[in-house]
């Protein structure tokens, strides 16, 4: 096995001038990536929310493009790009990565796959391994999400291979929100359902073009109502649920409907 000596042989032709060029290319790529990281999100927040998600989704693809372009520029400056040389170099690198940096390499590959399959894009609201939040950036190795508690969670892309990924809006603006109400079973269900429909219809947050539905389910402890509706902007989801809950409770109180205090405990007891 003389792969490492081959690599050294291949790299022997390096001269200072080439190294300087390589350095400049790396710095240039880094500057471009840094600029796109700052500029595109800034621009996305200034345009209408309708186009925001599309612009954010461009970011990882643009970054990959810059890296690929710089790689293509660097390789001929480092080695003679013959077939044998390339096979030897990538073989050695692949072997090293396969043993020493298996998970890291797996995340990098998964990162490229995410650009093609797009299981999540910047601006999406995703849930992986119990962490729910908005995708802020997709890096080469990991995805960064910000939870509603303003905590950044870094998730390696390799979760893509074997974990369930829940995407609430899947690159679009339609993110369904659910507001729950637990009522005592003795009441007029049709009237309560109608009232909750009006609560959703009259919300300032609601996207009127999407369906509004109220699901009713009878439980051992009472009746469970769920308003399903979509906010105008996915970023308003928690304010929307709060608005539905506050106004829904007020509207149901006007109907003299009794609320169930502890359905979870009642369910456990039943």
């Amino acid at each position: 096995m003389n792969g490492s000596s081959d690599v050294l042989e291949i790299l022997r032709g390096l001269i200072w001038a080439n190294l300087t060029q390589v350095g400049l290319i790396v710095v240039g790529a880094w500057v471009l990536i840094a600029l796109s990281n700052r500029f595109l999100p800034w621009l996305a927040n200034r345009i209408s929310s309708r186009h925001r998600l599309f612009l954010l989704a461009l970011l990882p693809a643009l970054r990959l493009l810059i890296i690929a372009a710089s790689f293509v520029l660097i390789v001929p400056r480092v080695i003679e790009p013959t077939f044998e040389n390339l096979v030897a170099l990538f073989g050695a690198l692949g072997l090293a990565a396969g043993f020493a940096l298996k998970d890291y390499a797996s995340s990098l590959v998964a990162g490229i796959v995410t650009l093609y399959e797009a299981p999540y894009r910047p601006g999406d609201w995703i849930k992986i391994n119990g962490a729910y939040g908005e995708v802020k950036s997709i890096n080469m190795r990991s995805v960064e999400i910000v939870t509603p508690d303003d905590t950044v969670v870094v998730i390696p892309h390799l979760k893509l291979w074997n974990q369930l990924i829940f995407n609430a809006n899947d690159g679009g603006r339609n993110l369904q929100c659910v507001a729950d109400f637990y009522l005592h079973p003795r009441h007029d269900a049709a009237q309560a359902r109608h009232t909750l429909c009006d609560v959703a219809l009259s919300s300032a947050f609601v996207n009127m073009e999407q369906a509004i539905n109220v699901v009713v389910q009878e439980k051992p402890w009472g009746t469970h109502y769920r308003i399903r509706a979509y906010p105008v902007d996915p970023r308003h989801q928690f304010d929307f649920i709060t608005d539905l809950t506050v106004r829904g409770k007020a509207a149901l109180t006007r109907l003299d409907v009794e609320f169930v205090a502890m359905p979870a405990m009642a369910e456990m007891g039943s």
Binding site: L43, S48, R173, T195, D198, S202, A204, E209, D243
Partner: protein
């Protein structure tokens, strides 16, 4: 650039009513569409500094017309002609003993004169005018107001948008009213409805599809005619409306032996910007009128000279007009306030506070902020979106995914 003959060649009635599906927006010149796109890009890259010139300001070399002169040259729209146009449109329906549809809707965007037209028409026809319920009655949703409408004689309700409130308790009354009215329980009637309320109520009420008419969009030719009539009634002396930067005529001058005059495309731009809304176009027209640089000296030359020579009214070039725009950093709260004002065609601040998920002080802060930007104004107790600010507000709400009207 058009000539006088081009402007006059189309001959369609000024006040024309059509089913709302046939409403056709005026087209903007391609060059203006490109300019608008460019200005959107420019705004994107501008720093978030408070703009000091969001309100109208006079160009250095021109000054605004005095208020009295504006009232003389571009007085308030006369809705009698509009009411007569409506009467002509409804002639067949009025003649029928028992029409298939007992209710006809007249839908129009804000400031388009829907209420004024129906009020004038009701006076002309001596029909019964229904009084809108108070907000308290709407919230109570009881039948007191409904039972008052049981008189079977012909009636008109000019503002359906005042029969509901976007509140969980504010939708029942309008549903019950529309159910009864459209089933013929109240007899023959005409209901006026603001276009934003119409868009909203389509999601709230799912009854039989009613006949809905709208005042057709005002194109350049209709605007020429209506503004010309206003100017003709203002003075015995001829008035020349010319664009201040290139001298082209905005309204066709009296024909001379020199051949057709070169015309400006100002009114085409005005029609497109106002989306054919005559009330908005009228407000923008008034905002664009200027006196000539030496206007004060000219006033002293006396009325006799003016009668013989005529008077030139300068119109600011479209690109130099500054209309109200959304303050920098405008977002959700501004959208909530503006959207709610439009859905109800204006409302008092105290009721706005009840409808919005904002604190009362925040709601008032938003209203004053929007008032400062020229987008909202107070008309008696009601806060409304201003006619000059309406195009920007509509564009803002549409861009952010809010429900908008179809006009």
């Amino acid at each position: 650039m058009a000539s006088t003959s081009d402007v006059k060649k189309e001959d369609s009635p000024v006040w024309q009513y059509v089913p709302i599906a046939d409403y056709r927006l005026p087209a903007a010149p391609v060059i203006q569409t490109a300019r608008n796109s460019l200005s959107v890009l420019q705004r994107l890259f501008k720093r978030d500094e408070a703009e000091t010139d969001t309100l109208l300001k006079q160009a250095d070399e021109l000054r605004m017309l005095p208020r009295s002169q504006i009232e003389r040259i571009a007085p308030a729209l006369n809705w009698r002609n509009a009411a007569e146009g409506l009467n002509a449109q409804l002639a067949d329906w009025l003649e029928q003993e028992s029409p298939e549809q007992s209710i006809i809707f007249l839908v129009g965007p804000p400031h388009s004169g829907c209420v004024e037209i129906l009020t004038t028409w009701t006076e002309q026809q001596a029909w019964r005018m229904l009084k809108s319920p108070s907000p308290e009655q709407v919230m109570a949703g009881n039948g007191a107001w409904l039972s008052d409408q049981n008189d079977q004689c012909n009636w008109v309700l000019p503002g359906l948008e005042k029969v509901y409130l976007r509140h969980a308790a504010g939708l029942n009354l309008v549903r019950r009213f529309l159910d009864r009215a459209c089933s013929g329980n109240f007899g023959r009637g005409i209901i006026g409805c603001d276009s934003w309320a119409w868009a909203f109520l389509r999601h709230v009420w799912h009854g039989r599809q009613p006949v809905a008419l709208a005042l057709q969009a005002f194109q350049q030719t209709q605007l020429v005619e209506i503004f010309q009539r206003m100017a003709d009634s203002a003075d015995n002396s001829p008035l020349f409306f010319r664009q201040s930067d290139n001298g082209r005529y905005v309204l066709p001058p009296p024909e001379t032996s020199e051949g057709p005059a070169k015309m400006s495309n100002f009114l085409q731009l005005l029609a497109a910007h106002s989306r054919g809304n005559v009330g908005i176009a009228w407000a923008l027209w008034r905002a664009g009128l200027r006196t000539e640089p030496d206007g004060s000296a000219n006033e002293e030359t006396g009325k006799e000279d003016r009668k013989q020579l005529g008077q030139t009214i300068w119109v600011a070039p479209w690109g130099q007009l500054k209309f109200p725009s959304l303050p920098p950093g405008s977002g959700r709260d501004e959208a909530f306030v503006l959207h709610t004002l439009l859905l109800h065609n204006g409302m008092p601040g105290e009721f706005l506070q009840q409808l919005l998920p904002l604190s009362p002080s925040r709601t008032m802060e938003m209203l004053f902020r929007l008032e400062g930007a020229g987008l909202a104004s107070r008309h008696y107790d009601d806060w409304r979106v201003t006619p000059l600010g309406y195009p920007a507000v509509r564009q803002f709400l549409q861009a952010n995914g809010y429900l908008v009207d179809q006009f």
